[in-house]
């Protein structure tokens, strides 16, 4: 991973699920600094937890030597979160739809769906040395956080 250009707060974490709690705490801190309310923070947190869990599990395969990078940035109206890992990358076009009837009773496969539901803009890219970089944006002007289509 290279030095991220943006993000007022950047965390590098070893690949342990416990570190998701630190990411959540950092999000809380950033939300307080930026005046983002608890309701919106909750839904952004749901997305961010999934992204970090995926980076730890699928990206870094729980190898504690591998890092997850989480960056909090964006300007006044947009919160931009980036989650990077040191894994092999994957094809996000091949994710199955958890709402399809045949997937409804599956015990997994809802993480990226959570992310897409609770954030406004989601994109995946490849890091320089492989690995996945997930960029998520949340429009802070919309009043109701994330619940989207409801």
């Amino acid at each position: 991973m290279t030095e991220p250009e943006q993000g007022a707060v950047v965390l590098w974490l070893s690949s342990r699920y416990e570190n998701i709690e630190l990411v959540q705490a950092a999000l809380g801190h950033v939300c307080r600094l930026r005046g983002i309310d608890g309701e919106m923070e909750h839904w952004i947190g749901m997305a961010l937890r999934e992204a970090v869990a995926n980076a730890i599990r699928h990206g870094n395969r729980l190898d504690p030597q591998k890092r997850v990078l989480v960056s909090f940035g964006g300007d006044g109206d947009v919160l931009e979160l980036t989650v990077g890992d040191e894994g092999d990358g994957f094809d996000p076009g091949r994710i199955s739809d958890p709402l399809a009837p045949e997937n409804q009773m599956k015990t997994s496969g809802r993480g990226i769906f959570y992310i897409r539901t609770f954030m406004d803009e989601v994109s995946f890219s490849r890091g320089e040395k492989g690995g996945t970089i997930l960029t998520m944006k949340k429009d802070l002007k919309t009043r109701i956080a994330g619940k989207g289509e409801q």
Binding site: Y17, E18, I20, H42, G45, M46, R49, E50, A53, R57, P98, L99, Q104, M105, K106, T107, S108, G109, R110, G111, F113, Y114, T117, K147, G148, Q150
Partner: protein, 114 residues
């Protein structure tokens, strides 16, 4: 993470009180263990009290679906009650709200098992 979920009987219904975060690496496995244990003694009626749950991530939701399936295979019924708004929202967007029987009062939930 050391936390334990409460279990109590209401008639012949086993009530499991989840609390806190049902999330990857902590609450999710604990929940599965607790429900599997509860099913182990042949219980046929399980009611999960979600009132104390603050967050359920996709792993938690996945485990809950898995427990539902396990219960069904064992001829048991697994129902939910007291969903906080945020948990209700998550089950709604994942369209699992239609899979689970959900009640807003314990009396109603217990009666529904018949």
């Amino acid at each position: 993470m050391g936390k334990d979920f409460g279990i109590r009987m209401n008639g012949d219904v086993k009530v499991i009180e989840l609390k806190g975060k049902i999330t990857i690496g902590s609450g999710d496995l604990k929940m599965r263990e607790t429900i599997h244990q509860a099913l182990g003694d042949g219980t046929k009626k399980i009611l999960i009290d979600m009132a104390g749950v603050s967050t359920i991530d996709s792993s938690g939701v996945g485990e809950l679906v898995g427990c539902y399936t396990t219960a069904t295979h064992k001829g048991a019924k697994l129902k939910l009650m007291n969903l906080p708004n945020k948990i209700q929202d998550v089950l709604t967007v994942t369209q699992l709200i239609t899979v689970f029987d959900v009640y807003s009062s314990e009396a109603e939930a217990v009666a529904s098992f018949g």
